[in-house]
């Protein structure tokens, strides 16, 4: 089949949707620059002037960073395991949580950590504690929830790279006399860095923009940018303030993932046979 100039018309419906997306983003940026008296930078300026906003900003990035490190640290050995034993059941175990809504998965942690949850009931039953412990509504609860919700993404990203390197190259290295430890540190690990960086980028971005998990597992002092936007919109009905927060969130996210991309590029460049 030939695709002449007229075939470009087939793209129009898709382009229409993209125009919608661009319109939404532009309108958001416009709102973010609206202040109480017409156009101004009132709400954006608050991010450098109000200490509590600065605190929330750094807290959000801190949570995202912790979540990313833990996620990658857990996902890496799991991906290595799955690459070595490619069984359907393992894939399903990773994929199924991805298909269950974040709300439901976060709710599971409330059932476990809540005042009448699994852990508190068990501890009270055996008489270790008299009153329920405060296991959620704290930073630990938020990080635990985020790690749990985003770990399948990290596993799949690392696995995608791992299955390509595991067998042939590590066998070659072993045949050439490398000890198992050396095969890992000199061959498998360097080659898997791009997958790790993809995983880190995805998890960092997802954690940064999360609303549901910090909303349900965090308390008043665990406000992240996402939950702040939620409150600004649905509690205080302050659309321009929420738009400004969303803009700050997006720009800082774009800057924050640059290191991951740089490491990725560096690792790829060092690979044998890389054409640059």
């Amino acid at each position: 089949m030939t695709f002449g100039r007229a075939s470009l018309l087939l793209m129009l419906p898709c382009i229409g949707l993209l125009i919608g997306l661009v319109t939404g983003i532009s309108s958001l940026v416009g709102q973010a620059m609206t202040g109480e008296e017409g156009s101004s930078l009132t709400y954006l300026r608050e991010f450098v002037e109000r200490p509590e906003l600065i605190r929330i900003f750094f807290y959000t990035h801190q949570i995202a960073a912790i979540t990313t490190v833990i996620c990658v640290a857990i996902a890496y050995p799991l991906a290595a395991f799955m690459a070595r034993r490619p069984r359907l059941i393992y894939l399903i175990l990773i994929l199924m949580p991805l298909m269950v809504s974040i709300v439901v998965r976060t709710y599971g942690w409330i059932v476990i950590l809540g005042p009448r949850g699994l852990i508190n009931t068990a501890l009270m039953d055996i008489g270790l504690i008299e009153r329920p412990l405060r296991l959620m509504f704290n930073t630990g609860g938020v990080v635990l929830g985020l790690v749990h919700v985003f770990i399948p993404f990290a596993v799949l990203s690392i696995l995608a790279v791992y299955v390509k390197i595991e067998t042939s190259l590590s066998e070659a290295a072993a045949a050439l006399g490398a000890r198992p430890g050396q095969v890992f540190t000199r061959v498998v690990l360097p080659l898997s860095i791009p997958g790790v960086m993809t995983a880190a980028t995805i998890v960092y971005l997802l954690s940064l923009g999360a609303i549901v998990t910090p909303l349900l597992l965090g308390g008043q002092r665990q406000t992240m940018l996402g939950t702040m936007i939620y409150n600004q919109m649905l509690v205080f009905f302050n659309y321009p303030a929420a738009a400004a927060s969303a803009l700050v969130l997006t720009i800082s996210a774009a800057i924050a993932v640059i290191p991951f991309q740089l490491v990725d590029r560096w690792a790829t460049r060092k690979m044998p046979g890389h054409r640059s």
């Binding site: 087939l10 993209l18 199924m96 923009g209």
Partner: protein, 264 residues
């Protein structure tokens, strides 16, 4: 090395348990006969399932979510198929910008994407309406649909089409008998994945719901915040059964492996 393998296996099993535990515990907790959530449940009852299935609010939220996911998946699969046919077969001016924009909903932090979608829906005057939700979901699921279809089209060999044409098939017949059957697994995969993404979506939808309009995940979210009713556990369990059924269907139709490869 034996010890290393055993350690790795043990670690992997522990992580699988960590991933599955909260999901399984919700299922068990849903059978409680009591009026509040407790674990382990004292006794077994289907009381909360009956309550949910008899509740018009839950049923309506479920209906809204199914309709929303079905429309979003169908429309975007069709729209992206048309676009991908062109982008995989000829040079398109501004193609890299086009593909960057298609990926945009994945690259933006979710809370910011939600705000952008709210701004769009507000601008076109559809806030709090079902069409407003549809517009937002059509855009959100784009990257999940476009990628598998492009991958599918790239994998298939265009020379088979050319052979068909050389042997006398007209373009319409070639499309129907050669292109479509070859691309079908990718289309099904794209449709199912976008259906799930739309059905589960909550962060964007929560800003777009209206007075009498809510989706199932948003309804669950607000119920978690406002009550400790075990009905939430029952709804969640039913959703998980649906998900399992979906996994089964996907595996039968296109295979889980292809599904996983396509989403990355």
């Amino acid at each position: 090395m034996k010890l290393g393998t055993a350690l790795l296996t043990g670690l992997a099993m522990a992580i699988f348990i960590f991933i599955m535990a909260p999901i399984m515990i919700v299922v068990l907790a849903s059978f409680t006969p009591r009026g509040y959530l407790e674990f382990p449940p004292q006794g077994v009852s289907l009381r909360w399932y009956a309550e949910v299935l008899a509740s018009p609010i839950w049923l309506r939220a479920f209906g809204t979510s199914v309709a929303l996911a079905f429309i979003s998946a169908t429309v975007t699969t069709f729209v992206c198929f048309l676009a991908a046919l062109v982008t995989t077969r000829r040079k398109v001016p501004g193609q890299s910008l086009f593909e960057l924009l298609v990926q945009m909903p994945l690259l933006l932090p979710h809370a910011a994407l939600a705000m952008a979608m709210f701004s769009l829906v507000l601008l076109i005057g559809l806030r709090g309406t079902f069409p407003g939700l549809v517009v937002a979901h059509l855009i959100i699921v784009l990257p999940f649909v476009y990628r598998p279809i492009v991958n599918g089209l790239r994998q298939h060999d265009i020379s088979v089409e050319e052979a068909a044409m050389t042997l006398g098939a007209d373009p319409a017949t070639t499309f129907r008998k050669i292109t479509l059957p070859m691309i079908r697994p990718a289309l099904i995969s794209a449709f199912l994945f976008s259906f799930i993404v739309s059905f589960d979506e909550v962060t964007v939808s929560v800003f777009l719901i209206g007075v009498d309009l809510t989706t199932l995940p948003v309804k669950i979210l607000s119920d978690i915040q406002n009550s400790a009713s075990p009905a939430i556990a029952a709804v969640s369990t039913m959703l998980m059964c649906l998900t399992l059924a979906m996994v089964y269907v996907i595996n039968r139709l296109v295979g889980i492996r292809m599904f996983v490869e396509n989403r990355a």
